[in-house]
Every structure is written in C-alpha cells, then in structure tokens.
C-alpha cells in the first residue's frame, strides 16, 4: 500500500515535469515574439521590452528561471496587462470557476448515478430505454449548444433566469446545468452498465435467495461495487468539467479562469496561457491522484503494482 502510494506520487511528479516542460517548449516554439504587433515597434523599444521580460536570455536559462520562479510559486507577469501578474489573475478567477465546477460535479453525480441505477434495475423496459436515450442524447449535444439552448429557453423566452453575468446564486443555475450535461449522461451510462454487471454476480443471487429485500440488496450489496468504475471516471470528469468551463464561462460572461484563458488566447498573452495551463494541469493531476487513492482504498482487490 505504502509503496504504491509513493510510486503514484513519483509518477505524478513526473507527469507535472512533462507538462511544464512541454508547455514551456510549445510557448517558445511560437514564431515571432509576443510583442510582434500589427504596427512594428521601434527596434529600441522592442529591445527594452525583451530585456524587461528576459526574452533575450538563452532558452535553457529562461527554462531554469521559469522553474526557479515556479518553485517560489511565481508564474510571472502578464504580457498584455502591464500591472497584473499571472498569480493575481488566477487568484481572482479560480474561486469563481471552482464554485461553478463544484456545483456542476455535484449535479452530475446526483442525477447521473440514480438515473443509471434506474436503467439497470428496469433493464430493457421503458425506464431503461428512457435513461439510455437521454444519456445518448446527452453525450451528443456539445456543452456550448446546450448552453445557448438553455439561455434561449429560460432567459430569453421564459425570462425566469439571468442570461449571463455572475453574482447571486441564480446566476449559477444555467451555466452549471450546461456544464453538467455531458458528464451526467456519461455517469448514467457507466453506472448502468457496471450495475448490470454486478447484479449478474453470484453474491447478489445469494443475497436474493436469502430473502433480503431488493432495495437493501441494491443499497448495501450492489451499489458500492458498481460505483468503482464511476470513481475511476471522476478524475477525467473533473478535467472535462474544468476545460468545458472555458467555453461556458465565455458564453455566460462569467469572470472565471476559463474566460481568462480564452481571452489570453485571443490576446496571445503567452505568460497567462502558460500559467493557466500549468495551474490547471497541476490541479487535474492532483485530482487524478486523489481519485487513485480513493480507488485503492475502496477496492482491496487492486494489486498494488497497478497491473492491468
């Protein structure tokens, strides 16, 4: 157990190193510097700017500097907004994104798991067909389309919810629904199929033969095992919700990290792109690690070496 946790921490650090290096290399592979604007700047000004942001140093030195700053928790200044650092941008946007993401994750788990269980319990009858139909539609409709449909229905037509912006709780509802759509559908499908697998096993038949009430069998015996694949999916799901929030935040004009990311792409604000990528990736790698730990703890059958 201990050995496998250490192994996972090591591989997490390796992943982080790869992420940071790849991102750094990609950002420096861009033809033209970040200050090549439509209107060419005078050469002296260009030199000054490059010296200020240390773009003239040899690449290995820039890489080392970036790491040194990173280890102190400093992601550097924004190229576009002179007075702001990447750290400030992240500190400002992240709480908003986290709140939205948390609501979306909760929604998708709370709706997806019961829906999948209902599908498995009534296999090949109408509740199952309904769940599977909705779930397939759910994974087929991109979040930005769901978002605009929701805006159209609830904000423009029924006029009961705000179409955009951020503030009081009612502003969370539409973007959270749009964000939760696809993960909910995926969780429902996953829960259904793994539940079907569990329900076909001998120990469930034994429980049934002993005369245990169907609800108790489902709740006490089947659910925990059926949820294992869902737990595995939680890591990628959190990733999907976070990256999905890029577009959702842009559509709903929510001042979160995702919108900053999209704006920084439009602006070609490289330090911000780099900083947010590193931050997001680190966060997601950490989440995956926690999910792995939860998995080890939930399923004693898992071999510590991580054999397939």
């Amino acid at each position: 157990m201990f050995k496998s946790i250490v192994g996972r921490i090591l591989s997490m650090l390796l992943v982080l190193w790869v992420i940071i290096t790849v991102t750094f290399v990609l950002m420096h592979a861009i033809p033209g510097g970040p200050f090549t604007a439509e209107k060419a700047l005078p050469e002296a000004v260009m030199k000054n700017i490059e010296a200020r942001y240390r773009l003239n140093d040899p690449l290995p030195k820039q890489y080392a500097d970036y790491w040194a700053n990173l280890l102190r928790g400093d992601l550097g200044p924004s190229f576009k907004y002179e007075s702001r650092s990447v750290n400030e941008i992240i500190a400002e946007g992240f709480p908003v994104s986290a709140e939205l993401g948390l609501v979306a994750v909760t929604l998708s788990v709370l709706i997806g798991i019961p829906a999948g269980m209902a599908g498995a319990l009534y296999q090949n009858r109408w509740p199952d067909h309904l769940v599977m139909l909705l779930a397939t539609v759910g994974i087929s409709v991109p979040s930005f389309i769901l978002a605009t449909l929701l805006i159209f229905c609830f904000a423009l037509w029924l006029r009961i919810l705000p179409a955009a912006m951020w503030g009081s709780p009612e502003y969370v509802i539409l973007p959270a629904l749009a964000l939760a759509g696809m993960p909910t559908a995926f969780i429902a499908r996953l829960t259904r199929s793994s539940m079907l697998e569990v329900l076909a096993q001998d120990y469930i038949r034994t429980a049934r033969a002993k005369g245990i009430a169907p609800f108790t069998i489902l709740w006490r015996h089947a659910l925990k095992n059926a949820l294992l694949p869902v737990v595995t999916y939680l890591g990628p799901m959190i990733a999907a919700i976070f990256t999905g929030s890029f577009v959702i935040e842009s559509i709903f004009a929510i001042p979160g990290l995702g919108r900053h990311f999209v704006t920084s792409i439009y602006n070609r604000d490289y330090t911000v792109i780099l900083g947010i990528t590193v931050f997001y990736s680190a966060l997601l790698v950490l989440m995956n690690f926690l999910v792995d730990l939860a998995y080890l703890w939930l399923d004693p059958r898992i071999k510590p070496e991580g054999e397939d």
């Binding site: 992943v15 790869v18 397939t136 087929s140 605009t148 694949p229 999209v262």
Partner: protein, 299 residues
C-alpha cells in the same frame, strides 16, 4: 436402460446445427437487429450524402456574400435563411458537414495509424519494451489533453491542416491501449504459436494475425473517436482556433450563430442540430457495433 455412449456416425459428424457465418455476416446480422444502431447508420449516411451533394446542387456558394440579403429568415429561396453577410445557410451547413466530417475521419485515421503501430509493437514484444512504452502512455494520459490541443493550435495557427495535426498527435492514446490489450491477450493463443513455429516474421504476425483478430474493438474505438474529433474541432472553432474563414465547419457556424442568437436564433439552430445529430448517429452506431462485434466487451 442403456447408458452406453452413442457411436458417432459420419452423418452425425457432418450435420450442421446452424449455417456457417463469417465474422462480417455475423456482425451485420446482429447490427441489423439493433434499431438504434441502424438509425445511427442512416443519419450518418444521410449527412454524408448532404455533405457530398449538397454544395453541388445548391445554386449558392458557401462564400458568396450578398449583403442586401443579410439575416433573412428561412424562405423558399433560402431554406435555412441567410447569415449576417447574406450567405445561404443551407449551403454553408452542407459545406460545414464536409469540413467537420473530414476532420472527424482524418483525425481518427491518424489516431488509428499511430495507435495501432504503438499498441501493436508494445503488446507484441512485451517485457521491458512494453513496460517502457506503456509507462509513457500512462504519463501522457495524466495530461489534460484538450489543453494541449488548444496550445498546439495557438502555436500552429488556425487552419484545417493544423486541426488534423493537433488532433492526430494528441488523441491516439486510447487506441494504443486497446490494441495493446488485444494483442497481449491474443499472442499466447495456439494459432499465433502455430504461425510462429511456421516461421512467420514479427511483422507478419502483427499485421497478418494479431491485428485482424483485434478488429472488433478497433472498429468500435474508431467509430466513437470520430464524433469526439468533430466535437473537439467544434469546440476549437468556437473559441476561434479551428479552421479559418471563409471555410466553415459546424463549430464556426455555431460560434457565428451565438453572436446573433437574440435577434436571429435560427442561425444557431441549424449547425447545432447538425452537430448533435451527427454525434448522436456515431454514438448510436458505435454502441451498436460494440454489441455486434464484441459481446464480451461492455461498458
């Protein structure tokens, strides 16, 4: 009563209990019974026909601007209406189908190529090669891939070819894992041993024996990765990193439609319906193929 074993006669041994079916016939029979999969297949065929013939039949071109006709609602002349530059939306949606389907198919084929090669080699040689190669895949798997597609597009500049490259380079991991798992399971079986005893080269073993026998899961993964690629391209176009104007994928059309959502909602409706229908079609077909090709693999 007589419990002695029955003597098998020549006639009994030759009697067929059911007609012999090849892999393809068997799969097709099972697929035909699945109504959702057939519906998916019909949607895909329909949209492909629109993509091929739509722009040819239409009297308009996808890039002709007639500003006098801007933002017209659907009418007899313009079935889907026109956009803010007076371009015929029906033509643009059909043309968008070409781009989006091309992206889905080409990106998936690149994934297929890389994934099959990588997974096949890793699974076939096993041992240390396998553990190193799979370790690399594991590490790449931990990276949030969509972020890197976005970064690659920033670096490469938007454009059709670069969308192919970015998607192809990043999304082959799942294919590699599935091929490797298949090859690993198959290579210990007797028919492979027989081929090896007969002196087949590794290349012949991989491409002639192991891969053809893993076709089921490969086809399923391929079918399901096409909508994923279309989806990601739509996403990229939506944030301004997909194909460049005047080319139009469905994602471009959708992001143009969002701008005018309040006044002309139909401009978003068509690309949204097209994307969702296509995704639905491929997902239904993929699920059906999974049941038809490999009843054991469930998820």
């Amino acid at each position: 009563m007589d419990f002695s074993p029955l003597k098998p006669t020549a006639e009994m041994l030759q009697k067929q209990t059911r007609p012999h079916l090849g892999f393809r016939q068997d799969a097709w029979l099972r697929l035909k019974k699945n109504r959702a999969a057939l519906a998916g297949l019909s949607i895909i065929v329909f949209i492909s026909l629109l993509a091929v013939f739509g722009p040819m039949i239409s009297p308009y071109s996808y890039s002709d601007q007639t500003l006098a006709n801007a933002n017209q609602p659907p009418s007899a002349a313009h079935w889907f209406g026109t956009d803010n530059l007076g371009r015929d939306l029906a033509t643009r949606v059909c043309y968008g189908a070409r781009i989006s389907l091309a992206i889905g198919i080409v990106a998936s084929l690149i994934n297929l190529g890389i994934g099959v090669l990588y997974g096949g080699i890793s699974g076939y040689f096993g041992g240390r090669i396998d553990s190193v190669m799979m370790r690399i895949v594991d590490i790449l798997y931990g990276i949030p891939l969509l972020l890197y597609v976005i970064l690659l597009m920033v670096v490469l500049k938007p454009g059709l070819l670069n969308v192919f490259i970015a998607l192809g380079l990043v999304y082959w991991l799942r294919m590699a894992r599935i091929v490797r798992a298949q090859v690993l399971g198959l290579k210990e079986l007797e028919f492979v041993l027989a081929a090896r005893v007969l002196g087949a080269s590794p290349r012949r073993l991989i491409f002639g024996h192991l891969l053809p026998n893993s076709l089921g899961p490969i086809i399923v993964t391929l079918t399901l990765s096409i909508p994923e690629a279309i989806f990601i391209e739509a996403f990229l176009s939506f944030i301004g990193l997909g194909v460049s104007a005047p080319m139009a994928s469905w994602g471009v059309l959708a992001s143009e439609g969002v701008v005018t959502l309040r006044s002309y909602p139909f401009q978003l409706l068509w690309p949204a319906v097209a994307i969702s229908l296509t995704m639905l079609g491929f997902n239904f077909l993929g699920d059906g193929l999974r049941d038809a090709l490999d009843p054991r693999m469930r998820r």
